[in-house]
């Protein structure tokens, strides 16, 4: 059977992503993978399939797509304007995409990275155990217009129209961090100021990391800039030469010489990933024990996603009303779709 998704028009930041390539740090290759790892798990839950399957990550905006045969799709992560043959469809939900129908996904209304999942997952060859494009190391490349993405066999082809209550993470807020190996290069005043400063996500960001803007003097460590290069992991917050914090993400370098003031909890990283330029972010230190407990709860939350699904009401009349509502408000959480 010839299952594929034709990409008629691609936004500039479309890449296939799965859980990435953990295990190659020693070879200088960071894990990469879906920027918002929770969104990957949510898509898998909506479609009732393995969360290791590849999805299409869409940075900022989507594109126009067509299925070559009847498909199931799910939409997660940053909420974007999506429609099938002109009728708006709910985000954080699964839908049937009939062969020949046009799926259009527009700009993000909230958050940075949206995800299009398909029943069976995107196929194609794995490289070093993953289908993830690793942009910064030139491993794979972005999906362009007029391409065809092959799709694997769907194991549950009838389950559609499910909705998922969504973990809020698209409007910034407080991000938990732990002290890391170089935190004590910074004196107590620097640490205190770091915790009390209101940051905004800067204009520059990529899958490698995002810069944070703030008012006031730059941060500096007692070790200056003469620190020996040391291991870097996603979530580390490095202080660059001009004193600005830079949160490193999945495609970061594997070693670095800039001192790092703290490291973001993996379960809070989606908040940083999904912040759009100008979104407010704060950082709060927690103990290692509290961090491990937070990771434990996050893992339990991911495991419980399947049981949190609810049926999606698909009366077209309701959908049109919702569309009108959204045009006025500009943004809505997925949950409001469910409650109307």
């Amino acid at each position: 059977m010839n299952r594929a998704l034709i990409v008629h028009r691609a936004g500039p930041g479309l890449t296939l992503q799965d859980r990435g390539r953990p295990g190659y740090m020693g070879f200088g290759l960071s894990p990469g993978g879906a920027a918002d790892r929770l969104a990957l798990a949510e898509g898998a839950a909506l479609l009732g399939q393995d969360n290791g399957l590849a999805a299409l990550e869409m940075a900022g905006t989507g594109g126009e797509f067509e299925a070559t045969s009847d498909l199931r799709i799910a939409l997660t992560g940053a909420q974007m304007r999506a429609a099938i043959d002109g009728t708006r469809i709910a985000w954080h939900a699964s839908h049937a995409l009939p062969a020949g129908a046009r799926l259009t996904i527009g700009g993000a209304e909230m958050g940075s990275y949206g995800y299009l999942h398909v029943g069976g997952g995107f196929a194609g060859p794995e490289r070093l155990g993953s289908r993830s494009v690793h942009v910064s190391s030139g491993l794979g490349s972005a999906v362009g217009s007029d391409t065809r993405l092959e799709i694997g066999e769907d194991t549950a082809p009838t389950e559609v129209n499910r909705l998922l209550p969504v973990e809020p993470r698209f409007e910034g807020g407080t991000v938990r961090v732990v002290p890391s190996l170089q935190t004590d290069f910074f004196d107590a005043d620097q640490i205190k100021r770091f915790e009390t400063t209101g940051f905004t996500r800067g204009a520059h960001g990529s899958r490698m990391g995002v810069r944070l803007d703030f008012q006031g003097d730059g941060f500096h460590s007692d070790a200056g800039l003469s620190v020996l290069s040391e291991v870097v992991v996603p979530g580390d917050i490095q202080i660059t030469g001009d004193g600005a914090p830079f949160v490193l993400l999945g495609e970061c370098q594997t070693t670095g010489g800039y001192p790092r003031i703290a490291s973001v909890l993996p379960c809070d990283l989606p908040k940083v990933v999904q912040a759009t330029p100008g979104t407010a972010l704060r950082f709060r230190f927690v103990s290692l024990n509290d961090a491990v407990e937070a990771e434990r709860r996050a893992a339990a939350h991911r495991r419980g996603l399947r049981s949190a699904l609810t049926p999606l009401v698909r009366d077209p009349h309701d959908i049109r009303n919702l569309l009108a509502y959204q045009l006025i408000s500009g943004a809505t959480a997925g949950r409001e779709l469910e409650e109307t």
Binding site: P22, G23, Y24, M25, G26, F27, G28, L29, R127, L128, S136, S137, G138, L139, V178, P179, S180, L181, L228, S229, E230, V231, V233, G235, D236, Q253, T254, T255, G256, S263, V264, L265, P266, L288, A291, V292, E295, R296, A299
Partner: protein, 254 residues
């Protein structure tokens, strides 16, 4: 300068080796706070021993210049337990006296020094107090060793060069250094595996591909490998452009 280095011996002190956490799910065993031959060997040997011992919960290991890194699953293995395992392994022996890893090779990599392919040779030579020809001789006569692979896929940090080469990185970054570029700073060389901005000075250009995602051996160099950068003309390098090795040859050392 020999492959085995000339740095004075370093030994365990009250402060080193030191175990620190990295984020929520990592630990780092560091053998010093500055680069030295014994600390580098200790890190490589300790990581190899960790890979053999495979403590419960460990998911990945790597090394930096002077540290061994462990990533583990903190939800199923607590920090205290893993730290105790690392402590026990540290007591096993004097890691600073460890040999270099087995399976090392010696590489000879054809390199164009200077010309418009590597525009910062003159500037780097001046910083090291040499003429460009002296700088070429100094670099190409030194057998350097891969001290670590890091920053980008398959990318080696090589050393140690003589004290003349203790030159700082540039304050302003070079916008884009090409793949295969040889660059120098702080008595080390970096051979770039990807095109990237950098503060290191571009003194040579090779045709050596360090990261080959579709090959059987995707990452070519390994920590401990010895490397010599042999001067060739731009024409020679151009003639080898279809060879992913860029004319490089390897022989087994151990």
């Amino acid at each position: 300068m020999s492959d085995e280095g000339t740095t004075s011996p370093q030994a365990a002190t009250k402060e080193w080796p030191k175990i620190r956490t990295v984020g929520v799910d990592g630990m780092l065993v560091s053998f010093g706070d500055r680069l030295s031959e014994p600390a580098n060997r200790a890190a490589l040997a300790f990581r190899a021993a960790l890979d053999r011992a495979t403590p419960e919960g460990v998911e990945e290991t790597s090394t930096s210049l002077i540290s061994a890194y462990v990533r583990f699953d903190p939800v199923h293995r607590d920090h205290a337990g893993l730290r105790a395992d690392l402590d026990t392994l540290l007591q096993d022996r004097d890691w600073y006296a460890a040999d270099l890893p087995q399976g090392r090779r010696e590489w000879r990599i054809p390199t164009v020094f200077g010309t418009d392919l590597a525009p910062q040779l003159d500037e780097a030579a001046a910083a090291a107090g040499m003429t460009p020809d002296e700088a070429i001789a100094s670099i190409s006569d030194t057998v350097v060793r891969v001290q670590t692979i890091g920053f980008a896929p398959g990318q080696p940090y090589l050393g140690e060069l003589g004290p003349d080469w203790d030159i700082p990185r540039q304050k302003a970054l070079t916008k884009r250094i090409p793949e295969g570029a040889l660059a120098v700073a702080i008595r080390q060389l970096v051979l770039f595996s990807v095109s990237t901005p950098t503060g290191w000075r571009h003194i040579g250009q090779t045709g050596f591909r360090l990261f080959r995602p579709d090959a059987e051996t995707p990452f070519v160099l390994r920590p401990g490998d010895a490397v010599r950068f042999e001067p060739v003309s731009p024409e020679r390098l151009q003639a080898m452009k279809d060879d992913p090795d860029g004319g490089a040859r390897a022989k087994d050392l151990t």
